[in-house]
């Protein structure tokens, strides 16, 4: 019997959830996965929520420069689904980026001057410049990239991976989520717990949110007035009572519960130790930036991500909000870039200097890009852009991906895929592949159908594999 069938059995029958939970939490990898040698052992997804503008950050379009305020030609515009936010506009005038681009590293990667620190890791990253998605609004687009479906109800990527691979740390969950708000105080669009939810998978596979303030994990701390020693003797008493019950009833679920209380007790020590970065040397804080000392910032979360990676947490999901720049992009984008540029680059450098970049996959990007045409009144140095899913950019580093590389290209307007298109399902298939998972084999039987993260699509982008 393959493990998958045992998994399917466990999931279907509900039997031995205890055993399965232990399995998941205590880590032995299931036999069916990985399907082949993994290149990456873990993933850190630096998600930029709201839709960062590819045109102002990662996708250099010198051809647009001379075309300010020209209409996007119909041949380019095609059958673009326009959102209600620009539906009243009479025209869709080109607005080129106001930022300078230059080449970085030996590979000559073109990057915006808003990302100077990312320039320093140009030879480590692989930029995908022809990502595309079907959704044109936040909720469906972000749900799509995280769950493979535009509608709610499916498990998130981290849950799928936890379900397939399990944890390698007996003191921490396999799937951890860290959220941060932008420094400019304008977070705009909300997040949704379903983005780290388990969907129809058993709920133990849901991501555990580590929070910036208070308890890192909800209800992690003992109530005031109960010390760790007291808690130990409480749990000893509890274990004695539960063991006695198990002796009478024989239900294996009781044994599992006893084990879960012990795991909880260990988490109470391991999590605070993990989130306490005060022992990090000064040069590390300097690398990530001053914000890395402020809990709950993107920089602090990047540093935590490295610490989680060191502890073999499988899927580390960061969200940074505030990229939804319909209007005033030119005021907001620089501050968002400042929030994330240094820490993102620092994370890659830090992983590298620890020899962990080879087996850690870092991904940086959002749910879609932004339109080459202006939303609302525009000047050459003051404009906004609407949502754009037909092409956008994203970068990856480490974990078996080519270094100093770029793949795919948009057309002269940064509007459509010109070559090397990577659909959201392709990205998901590729991430699973790097973890040693055949995306067609990671399935779960729900309501009579074998579901998978990539639905009925997905192509591994072999061109970017190192």
């Amino acid at each position: 019997m393959s493990f998958l069938s045992r998994r399917a059995l466990l999931a279907k029958t509900g039997y031995g959830l205890g055993a399965a939970a232990l399995h998941s939490l205590l880590g032995a990898a299931p036999k069916a996965f990985p399907n082949f040698a993994p290149r990456a052992k873990r993933v850190i997804f630096l998600f930029q929520a709201g839709g960062p503008s590819h045109l102002d950050l990662l996708d250099y379009k010198p051809q647009m420069k001379s075309r300010f305020d020209e209409d996007i030609p119909p041949s380019i515009f095609g059958t673009q689904r326009i959102t209600g936010m620009v539906a009243h506009q009479d025209r869709f005038p080109v607005v080129p980026t106001m930022y300078g681009f230059k080449q970085h590293g030996q590979c000559g990667q073109w990057l915006s001057d808003r990302l100077p620190e990312t320039g320093k890791i140009a030879d480590e990253i692989c930029v995908l410049r022809a990502m595309h998605t079907e959704a044109i609004n936040h909720d469906p687009a972000i749900t799509f990239i995280q769950t493979g479906s535009q509608l709610p109800g499916r498990p998130s990527m981290g849950s799928w991976i936890d379900y397939g691979l399990g944890s390698e740390n007996e003191n921490l969950p396999a799937f951890v989520v860290l959220n941060s708000l932008p420094g400019n105080g304008m977070p705009d669009q909300g997040l949704l717990a379903r983005l780290w939810g388990a969907g129809f998978l058993p709920s133990r596979y849901q991501g555990v949110q580590f929070r910036g303030g208070g308890d890192a994990v909800l209800h992690l701390s003992n109530p005031p007035g109960i010390t760790r020693e007291q808690r130990r003797s409480q749990l000893d008493g509890l274990a004695a009572l539960n063991k006695r019950l198990h002796g009478q009833m024989g239900d294996p679920e009781i044994e599992t519960r006893i084990a879960q209380y012990e795991m909880a007790f260990r988490m109470q020590a391991s999590v605070p130790e993990l989130v306490d970065t005060s022992g990090e040397p000064a040069h590390i804080h300097e690398l990530y930036g001053e914000d890395s000392k402020k809990p709950g910032t993107f920089a602090a979360n990047c540093l935590l991500a490295r610490r989680l990676a060191e502890r073999n947490v499988r899927f580390i999901q960061l969200y940074h909000r505030g990229w939804d720049h319909h209007g005033g992009l030119t005021e907001k984008l620089p501050s968002l870039a400042r929030d994330v540029d240094r820490a993102s680059a620092a994370l890659v450098q830090d992983l590298k200097q620890r020899g962990m970049l080879d087996d850690t996959l870092v991904i940086w990007g959002g749910e879609f890009g932004r339109t080459p045409y202006a939303q609302g009144p525009s000047k050459a140095d003051s404009y906004g852009r609407d949502h754009h899913g037909r092409v956008f950019s994203l970068w990856m580093a480490g974990g078996g991906v080519k270094r100093g590389f770029s793949y795919g290209a948009s057309d002269d307007y940064g509007f459509n895929v010109a070559e090397g298109g990577v659909h959201v399902h392709d990205l998901q298939a590729t991430i699973l592949f790097l973890l040693g998972i055949d995306h067609q084999k990671l399935t779960y039987l729900f309501q009579g159908r074998q579901f998978r993260l990539t639905d009925v699509a997905g192509r591994v982008v072999k061109e970017i594999l190192s």
């Binding site: 936040h138 669009q189 997040l191 303030g213």
Partner: protein
């Protein structure tokens, strides 16, 4: 092998082994074919390979037999590329079936249930056990049974005194005592709340709209309808009918219209800039999905984009179901800050009583009215409205305006005063922004919009009857936010409309207008709209304040007034203005919306047009004479010979009591679903249910009084190994309690639970900054958790405000779903986060303190007696000697610690809003609380 495996497990472990038996198509063969073959050789013509169908008779089966067992890997079926494979056992089963003639049979669930030979739950269970060579467990002790049945039927445990009484009664009266206990529980108002809990999952009930903005909605009147329906033991066929089509019943009552909220509980998207039709289509599809899951036990929605891969449901079938739900006057983008249309005012029983009393008083007074000539009130003259002097209207600020008008006959629906430019693109997010007063069918309509139609207040008078015959006086008052400092939206209830000096009742067409902060609240300039209205207008005036009723009378020149009558009318209007609304289903006026098959399920790719209808060949004929609408659909679903409805429903009630259905896949009775563990029992229950007049209480009574349910839940290691899931029912049910029950019983133990039924949802403890970093930045209702004060902290959990995108963690950690979609079965997991919650969440820490307090006051004098008291409250039984020792040892350690550090004791006792009892020494109380904290975490306490 995976699809078939569960059966292999039980069959192989429990009987002599499936391999030895004559294969039954439905039980043994079809699941193998469905899992491994139908994908390419099933009913989906587009996917079919080699022209071969295996889902219906006719294939050359000898050839199949060869292909599944050939050693030639290239020839072998299923091919390796399919990621599917057959086990040796499955190959043997298929080959034997083919050798024995390859007989097909209609899928069992599509054949109407027939009353089997034999009677009673225990008969069928024992028959199966005997065949397996197993015996039932002995009955559980009476007190254990009482705890189990109380938790199952009311979601609350019995108090020790109730157990004592019952044990004595059971000894004296035997069966009669059991029956009476069940009837008492079924008669408790708590019963309806417990039953509603599961139905709220199925019906995807929540207090927010979901999606990005996830702002608040008001559907609690529907939730309370569900509770009442269960408490009244509404026949289940009516329960279905009223929720699907209450509005289409003859002369529907308010309750029947509220019931149709079932079809509106789906998520609704208010994200700016979405394409309306894309989402409206999703809402209709969600109703089909929910109908399929809730009552057909079928994944009908799988046929949204293509013919169903496994079940004989075509894409056309899907859109014929869809057509029943495709004619609502609803919008794709709606619900930004309040309910989405269509909605109705839904006064509570109490409010209905008050309204009726006022109506009577008004009628009485009107019959003997005594108008008096009132002295005019001095009202300042206001500012004349002109082109140069439009009315400035901001959402925060009060404003009143009045004018006289006498229309020409041709004013069917025209703008009078307006700041709205309708010349813009209707798809734009700013379409229709502004304020307007219209004359429409002789009524006055007030519009105040960010975007029409969804984001607006629209209020229309009811009974103005403004006709060409005479000049009338109109006054409109918008109160503004002055009296409502915390309002997060501008509200229809702030609008008053007067004709000839008298306030008129109004209908609210839309009530969904977000409130900006005062800084960005720019007034909209409303002026006479030229061109549309034809007729006379005189004396247009406005005031930057809200005129009172008396002031309006003066302005209108209404002098002869019966003040008492006017006050009664004003009271009624005020009451009606503030009743909660509920979203409902209703049919659009005029020609029904056409339904098309949507190619690949895409909203913008209509294919063939279809009429409402059901797969009659598969699931039974349409009832003669039934209308082709939702009411007819309900009649079809509740036909006594419908193959699925009753089976699906009784199976779900069985699941509620036994932890899993007789059909384990309670969400799927189709070809991919599991074969029932006790097919005859399922059919017997379905027939009993129908023949009893669909009585839910009757059904549950049979189940909980059965010997099967009453068994002891324990077992040997071998017993658990042999039948880990208890599919054969040789043991009583034992599984962890649902999230809601875990919290509710803790509150009950503590004496904190407030048993008040119904009403708006409440906000108990939730970690303060939980929403930080997650919820949308805009300050919509539902984006802040403002903790309830007093009783709201201690209501049953089904009344906790349910925010879809961030549901309450104490619920989700114990496997409650997010309610974005219909769910008929929760998973039951066992995780360290559950341990952390039960140990440290203030809800449970406070409950431990309050139960400790009870133990000290009510439990006796010695620590031993007090701890035994708390233990018994929580488990329903006294501790034995070993348990007592454990409790006492732990107590001694806690006590030593708190005697040494009274400050620590006090901080522990300070958790929670309930006051700390001063009469008990803090160190003592804290020590007891710490031990009760342990007790509340016992597996036995959170398991039924």
């Amino acid at each position: 092998m995976r699809g078939q495996f569960w059966f292999g497990l039980i069959a192989a472990a429990v009987c002599a082994g499936a391999e030895e038996r004559r294969p039954d198509y439905g039980r043994d063969v079809r699941p193998i074919l469905a899992e491994n073959c139908f994908h390419c050789h099933g009913q989906d013509g587009k996917k079919r390979m080699a022209g071969l169908r295996l889902d219906v008779p006719g294939a050359a089966l000898a050839k199949v037999s060869e292909r599944i067992s050939t050693k030639n890997a290239a020839m072998r079926m299923p091919p390796a590329s399919s990621n599917r494979s057959l086990t040796d056992g499955q190959i043997a089963t298929l080959k034997r079936w083919i050798e024995q003639g390859g007989q097909y049979a209609k899928h069992w669930a599509f054949v109407p249930p027939v009353r089997p030979a034999g009677d009673g739950i225990d008969f069928f269970v024992r028959q199966r056990l005997a065949a397996e060579g197993l015996k039932s467990n002995p009955p559980a002790a009476p007190g254990v049974w009482l705890r189990r049945v109380s938790l199952d039927l009311t979601g609350l445990p019995p108090a020790p005194a109730e157990i004592d009484t019952f044990v004595v009664d059971a000894k004296a009266r035997g069966e009669a005592a059991y029956r009476d206990a069940v009837r008492r529980l079924l008669a408790s108002p708590r019963y309806g709340e417990r039953m509603a809990m599961d139905w709220l999952d199925v019906a995807r009930y929540a207090d927010t709209h979901g999606f990005n903005n996830d702002s608040a909605r008001s559907m609690w009147r529907w939730r309370d309808w569900v509770i009442q329906a269960f408490n009244d033991n509404m026949p289940y066929n009516r329960f279905i009918t009223e929720q699907l089509a209450g509005d289409l019943l003859p002369n529907p009552t308010l309750d029947q219209r509220i019931a149709t909220g079932f079809g509106r509980n789906h998520v609704i998207n208010s994200e700016g800039g979405i394409i309306e039709e894309e989402y409206r289509v999703e809402y209709v599809a969600d109703r089909v999905r929910t109908l399929g899951m809730a009552w057909l036990g079928m994944t009908v929605e799988c046929a949204k984009c293509h013919d169903h891969k496994y079940d004989p449901v075509t894409q056309r079938d899907h859109y014929r179901f869809y057509a029943f739900f495709n004619n609502l006057p609803e919008l794709g983008e709606d619900g930004r800050v309040a309910n989405a249309v269509p909605m109705i005012p839904a006064p509570t029983a109490e409010e209905q009583r008050k309204l009726a009393a006022l109506d009577m008083a008004i009628a009485e007074r009107a019959a003997k009215t005594e108008p008096k000539d009132l002295a005019a009130i001095l009202v300042d003259a206001g500012t004349p409205i002109s082109i140069d002097n439009p009315v400035p209207v901001a959402k925060h600020d009060p404003v009143s305006f009045s004018f006289r008008l006498q229309p020409e006959p041709e004013n069917a629906d025209v703008a009078l005063y307006s700041s709205i430019d309708y010349g813009r693109n209707m798809a734009a997010t700013t379409y229709g922004r502004g304020i307007e007063l219209r004359l429409t069918g002789g009524e006055i309509e007030f519009r105040f919009a960010d975007r029409l139609p969804a984001y607006s207040i629209r209020v229309v008078t009811d009974g103005a009857a403004i006709r060409p015959e005479r000049m009338r006086h109109v006054a409109v008052v918008y109160e503004g936010a002055a009296g409502h400092p915390d309002a997060m939206r501008a509200q229809a209830a702030w609008v008053r409309m007067y004709v000839d000096g008298r306030e008129l009742p109004t209908r609210v067409l839309n009530d969904d207008l977000a409130m900006p902060d005062a800084k960005s609240d720019k007034p909209s300039k409303m002026k006479l709209k030229p061109g549309e209205y034809k007729g006379r207008v005189a004396e247009p005036v406005f005031w930057t304040k809200a005129l009172t009723a008396a002031e309006v009378r003066s302005v209108a020149g209404l002098r002869m007034v019966d003040i008492e009558l006017e006050e009664l009318r004003a009271q009624r209007l005020a009451l009606a203005r503030n009743v909660a609304t509920v979203m409902v289903m209703q049919e659009r006026e005029g020609k029904p919306r056409e339904t098309h098959v949507l190619l690949r399920g895409q909203y913008n790719m209509p294919g063939e047009a279809v009429e409402p209808g059901v797969p009659e060949e598969l699931l039974g004929a349409w009832p003669a004479g039934a209308p082709k609408n939702r009411l007819g659909l309900a009649k079809w679903l509740t036909k006594p010979d419908h193959p699925l409805t009753a089976r699906v429903v009784v199976n779900r009630f069985w699941q509620q009591l036994f932890g899993q259905g007789l059909v384990k896949t309670s969400d799927n009775f189709g070809l991919q679903g599991e074969f029932p563990s006790h097919p005859e029992l399922l059919d017997w229950l379905a027939r009993e249910f129908i023949d009893s007049g669909w009585s839910v209480k009757g059904l549950l009574e049979k189940m909980v009084l059965s010997a099967t349910y009453r068994q002891d839940a324990g077992g040997t290691k071998e017993a658990f190994a042999r039948d880990p899931e208890n599919r054969l029912l040789a043991r009583g049910p034992r599984f962890r309690l649902p999230a809601e029950v875990i919290r509710d019983q803790s509150l009950q133990f503590a004496g904190l639970l407030k048993n008040q039924a119904g009403g708006p949802s409440v906000f108990p403890y939730q970690t303060k900054d939980l929403y930080k970093g997650i919820v949308v930045a805009a300050d919509y209702p539902g984006t802040k958790w403002v903790e309830s004060k007093g009783e709201g902290l201690y209501r049953r959990s089904l009344y906790t405000f349910w925010k879809r995108t961030v549901p309450h963690p104490t619920m989700t950690v114990f496997d409650a779903p997010d309610r974005e979609f219909c769910i008929v079965r929760r998973s039951t997991t066992n995780t360290p986060l559950q341990a952390l919650t039960l140990l440290n969440d203030p809800t449970f820490v406070e409950a431990a303190r309050k139960l400790a307090e009870r133990a000290v006051r009510e439990g006796g004098a010695s620590p031993e007696a007090r701890l035994a008291f708390a233990f018994r409250v929580a488990t329903g039984r006294p501790p034995d000697a070993a348990e007592s020792r454990t409790l006492l040892d732990t107590f001694a350690q806690m006590r030593t610690r708190y005697l040494a550090d009274e400050g620590a004791a006090q901080t522990l006792l300070a958790v929670g809003a309930s006051p700390v009892v001063a009469s008990i020494a803090p160190a003592e109380l804290a020590a007891y609380a710490a031990v009760v904290n342990v007790i509340l975490n016992m597996d036995e306490v959170i398991t039924k």
